[in-house]
Structure formats: C-alpha cells, structure tokens
Amino acid sequence: MQKYSVFSLVKNAFTNHENWEVAWKDPEPKKEYDVIIVGGGGHGLATAYYLAKEHGITNVAILEKGWIGGGNVGRNTTILRSNYMFDSNAHFYEFGMKLWETLSQELNYNVMYSPRGIINLAHSDAQMNAYARRGNSMRLNGIDAILLGRDDLKKMIPFADFSETCRFPIHGGLMQPRGGTARHDAVAWGYARQADSMGVDIIQNCEVTGFDVNNGKIEGVQTSRGNIKTKKVGLCVAGSTTLLADMLNMRLPIEAHVLQACVSEPVKPLLHNVVTFGAGHFYCSQSDKGEMVMGGDLDGYNSYAQRGNMPMIQHVLTGGLAVFPNFSRLKMLRTWGGIMDMSMDGSPIIDKTHIEGVYLNCGWCYGGFKATPSSGFVFAHTIAQDQVHELNSDFNLERFHTGKIIDEKGVGPKPWIG
C-alpha cells in the first residue's frame, strides 16, 4: 500500500496526481470467506480492520448494498465524546476516545480529529446539580470533565443569549475538553483503505437477500451477487438490522426511526466547541468549511425513509435560536436524514446470537459515529474469539430479559421520546 505523506504528495504533484494507487480495490466476491461482515459503514469497516490487524483474520468480505460510507457514517454530525455516567458506557466510549486520539496515525489517513471540547449547557440549578454528578462520575472513571459557570461560558460563547430574562437562562455547563469532532467520511475511507491493504474484500453493490442456516449454524449468505459460504457473519447494518434479523427469524428490541441533521451556509470562525442546548434538543458545531452543523430530535415516528419532515427541523432550530439568536440570519444549506436503530434502553447491542456464527452489532440509536473505533474493536474480538470482550459484555441481548438495562437517559422503552 502506498503510504500517504507530504513526500508522496509532492512526488505525485509532478505527475498531475494521475498515478495515485486506488485506495481500495473492487473485487468479485469469492466462493467462501472465513468471516463476512454485512454492512460497509463505519462499524463494518472498522470491524474488518480490527479482525485483520488484531486477530490476523484476513479472509474477510464486507458486503455493502450501496456504496461504503453512504449510510449513517456519512450522515452524522461527527461528534466524539465519552461523557457518560454509567460505567458500561463510560468505559466503552472512553476506550474509543483513546483510539480516536491516535487514529489518523494508525490509519495513515487524516481523520481530522479535533478535540475542541463538547459543552452541555445547563439552564437551571437542578440541571447544574445533575451535571456536577455526571462530571464526578466521569472523573471517577478517568474521563476529563469540567463544570463551567456562567462567566466561563460568556468568554467561550459570547454570542449566546446570556440575558437574564430569557426563557432558559444559561446557568453553566459541563464540558469534556477532549470531546470534539472528526471528519466522518475520512473515518470510513481510512478504515476501508487499511482493511483492503490487509486482504479484506470490500464488495459494494452487493445486497444480502438471505442466510443459509443449518442445525442452528450459519453456513453461508445469499446475495444479489451469488451465494457465498462462510462460518461467521457479523451484522453491522444499523437502521436495517431488523430487515436482516427477520431473515434469521430473530425478533429484536429495536425500532427504526429517522433522525435529521442540517447545515447552514459557511461563515467565518465563530463557534469553537460543540455546544448542546440543555432545555431542548439542539446541538451545534462549526465545520472546518465554516458551516454550522446542527441536529436535534428524532422525527418521532417509526421510519425507514432516509428523509424527514419540516416540523422537526423547525422545532430543533427554534431551540437553536433560543440559545444562539444570531443564527436567525444564517441561510440553510441542506438537510438530510438517516435511519437510527433505536434500542429500547438507548444503549447498543454487541453480542452473539442464538445462531452459531451469527454476531450482532446494532442498537446504536443516535450515537454510533463516536463508537466507530471501539465498536469495531470489540466486535472483531467477539467474532474472532467467539466470546464478548469485557467492554461489550454489558451490551448483550440478555439484558432485555434480566432487566439489567443500561438506560442512561432514563426514558424507558419509548425510543421516540428520547
């Protein structure tokens, strides 16, 4: 594989950049693989990469219905954080943060990790208490957290509405300084390029249409490009998980919902952190191009359409204007939607299934992007060793039976409310 560096950039400049190697190949599917990953998104690509790198399993295929990185890894708002209170989440996402910090070097691909800090605004004394508690929990788990006062925030986001008569005055906030953003497409492409270089076949335009299961064991996968034999299949298809689970007669504690995001026209540097509004659903960061990247709530009804409706955009931006009134003069550039695999407790499922050789990675709700490296790492372990990693041992399917759910938000099994 060609190494990307300033020298290779200069060298290729002499030939008008016409001789770069392809970043990943476009192979025909083989008859058989050791492991098949369904879904060429961030998690699927990362899983294949860690299978090859950590476990030496390189006879791997990634089957992608469309093109790699065309789903939620290309549709999210690029936020990275590990500001969770519950131990299971805190340890898992903090492990991911450590991977993010060195990911560009590891992949030899600039994922533009930007630890610009994520700030959750608080708008009441009670919310400040809750944030202090969460911040303390984070610090006990070795995660960075700072409780900010109103005066600290006035220096950091002076253009926010700091008037005392507004409906939701800013009391303070909780900040995770190492949180931030990364270039989402680069994450998919970086993992794809490295996985490909280690022998993984990335097979696009290849839809899975069925599974060959015999005596409770997986034997192969039926696809739009023919049948492929395998002993292990990992499902990394986010919003489409139920559609594949139906083919395996598996019923899941998951609902598909559409989540929208939007960006404004690009403007000069203004917002230097990721900021979330604490009295409604709105969060925002400024991309390197200058666009305000904004998101908020689910549309609020089951949906497999990768597009939403205007009422929720209006609702989210109303919240946005309450905290940043000067955004009212921004023009909207575009909006889009993605399908969230909303689990019933808001936490992911990374587990084995009742079928030998079928592994499940789903239930990411609206937090899947930041988990890309850690999800890939533990899922690769789960597949390679046929047993869960300690970091995903709590993210099991069994919890919906035992009651040991991980309901960080405390909203109960009503995904559209969270």
């Binding site: 019923r251 504690p253 609020g300 205007m310 919906f400 039976h401």
Partner: protein
C-alpha cells in the same frame, strides 16, 4: 409534513399530533399465567416492519383522542386511520 386524518376531527397537520408507537402490542391479560417472555415481548420487542405499520397517535393539540393509523414506514404514506375500537378498512 404528514397530514393525518383524525377519526374525530378530519385531516389535520402533523403538528397537532403526538406519536404513541406500535398499535399491535397488547399488554398480557391480568389473571392469566404470564411467562417472563410474554413480558419481554410486551415491553421491549417489536416487529419494526419496513412498510405497512399499525401505530397509535394522539390528537394532543386537538380533541385529545387516541386513535390508530396505518402508515408506510418507507414512504410515510398514510393508508387509513380509525378509532381505537375499530379496524382499518384498507
């Protein structure tokens, strides 16, 4: 914008409604022998179809009645709506 036909008020904008989830799940009958699997299925497990979906909506900013909607989760097309004690015609 969805246009939802409330069985009591007629067609109204989506803004007036709130969602209540899958209309096909039923709470286990009181007095019956109920297994933990029955409770799991009632509380957590959903069919989550891509296509026709029966669901509950609440005309919260209108007549405040709950009712059923048959809607396509892939296209958002609404086929039919009916009262809670009725069945869909389509």
């Amino acid at each position: 914008m969805l246009e939802i036909k409330c069985p009591y008020c007629g067609k109204r904008s989506q803004n007036e409604f709130s969602y209540g989830g899958d209309a096909t799940i039923k709470r286990p009958q009181l007095g019956d022998e109920i297994s933990t699997e029955d409770w799991d299925n009632f509380v957590y497990y959903r069919d989550n179809p891509r296509g026709k979906h029966s669901e509950l909506w609440h005309h919260v900013s209108g007549c405040r009645q709950w009712f059923k909607v048959s809607r396509d989760t892939a296209t958002h097309e609404i086929f039919d709506t009916c009262k809670m004690n009725e069945d869909f015609n389509v």
